[in-house]
Symmetry: C2
Subunit: 257 residues, 2 copies
């Protein structure tokens, strides 16, 4: 039985203000909850009888059995699933040397929660563990972002920070900083290292002027055939995917073709 | 002044049934309307006075000047723009030899209108002019798809067809048919031609069994580092982007790195 207060609490997590106050976030659906429950502390698990019976060994501070109808009143999804869970927001420390030792992403005001979630899923696929976000970037704990990560949020760590300051200290250590620009150099003719920072910009405006000044390698995903009339740009998640795939190809497979 | 009937007509184009009956589709916003108006026959253009004044030479069967408030009653967008337009659906013939002469995409029941639009934008970027769609694929004229193409729909042609029959006739001509599978061969160690068909599958189920049997080259986008725990798959638009980028890199830039 799900009380009105619990329903109100769960639904309140749609708003960043409430998520921040409660240090909590919401995840819905069998696959996502299963992926996250071993990585984050679960405050509240709400599920149907059938689901709970088939998942007998779950760790959660509170477990509430509900009917489908009750669950759909708490759900933020168009098509409510058989389970939802409220998790505690983790707190990650990070070693400033991580950008020297591995490949990281930095997001300069990526606005769309779905794009952010897709980027996290891409980072996970390509073994990128840390994403540094400007304070204007969409909130990782937005339910739309969490759903779009498809569970990748269990493995990828986001750090909201003063991005110009972060990049300044990285550039002082000679960390390579890559950014995509429509007047950048063809990515396929540039050397790409196994460490450093790849910056992706805002959906409408790209990388901001202040951040652009800190980029040491301006790159471009060339269209094909070059010089033809085409779309003016690629979606930010799509561009992230192509860039990350090419960095990893160079490290692992560049000898092939 | 926008009549109630016109508002009803415009809004009715949210549904495929109505779009099909009317052979029409809706596009909203300054950039999109500007991109499409020279490529498709415009039945109806609805815009504010300011917009019309700054676009004096437009060809449309009917032009209606409206206030912002009137326009927002006809709009399907959360944030209505200053212009919307109803275009006639084009009818494309295609030469069956196109798959021998160029690189094409085939979509096997891609469901999400936003994914479809993003895939069209990717195709445009990589010079892929023809996309062959199973009849279960989302409708290209869904307003969400049209908006997500960001204008690329002016250059990329979609053909809804019996996909198994289409692929069967392609395979009889020895056209290479590529499909992505989690147990496919690493794309970076395969030869990739400048022509042929790349099949992308449904968001949840991938490529269907019937279609999979016609694939001549099963490929995989390898994750990094290989063998690590990671997301189980990539979003279909993201996978399309990485595959198309790699095909084009081979043709244009493989000598670089």
């Amino acid at each position: 039985m799900l009380s009105k207060n619990k329903i109100k609490y769960i639904r309140s997590l749609e708003l960043k203000k409430n998520r921040k106050e409660e240090h909590a976030f919401l995840a819905e659906g069998n696959k996502l909850v299963n992926d996250l429950i071993n990585h984050f502390s679960c405050q509240l698990l709400v599920a149907t009888k059938e689901w709970l019976q088939s998942h007998p060994h779950l760790q959660a501070a509170e477990i509430i059995e509900v009917t489908h109808e009750e669950l759909s009143r708490a759900s933020l999804l168009k098509t409510p699933q058989e389970v939802l869970a409220v998790f505690e927001q983790p707190h990650y420390e990070f070693d400033a040397n991580v950008t020297d030792q591995s490949l990281c992403l930095a997001l300069d005001d990526v606005q769309d929660p779905g794009n952010l979630g897709t980027i996290i899923r891409i980072a996970d696929w390509f073994g990128i563990e840390h994403i540094f976000c400007s304070s204007g970037t969409a909130d990782v704990y937005n339910p739309k972002t969490i759903q779009a990560t498809m569970g990748a949020i269990a493995r990828v760590k986001l750090h909201y920070c003063n991005l110009p300051d972060f990049l300044k200290s990285a550039s002082q250590k000679n960390t390579p900083i890559f950014g995509t620009f429509l007047d950048g150099e063809n990515i396929y003719t540039q050397e790409l290292p196994a460490n450093g920072i790849i910056i992706m910009g805002n959906e409408g405006n790209g990388i901001s002027k202040q951040i652009a000044e800190m980029v040491t390698h301006r790159i471009l995903i060339p269209n094909y055939p070059q010089g033809c009339e085409t779309s003016e740009s690629l979606n930010v998640a799509v561009a992230t995917a192509i860039v990350c795939a090419e960095f990893r190809r160079r490290t692992a497979w560049s000898s092939s073709f």
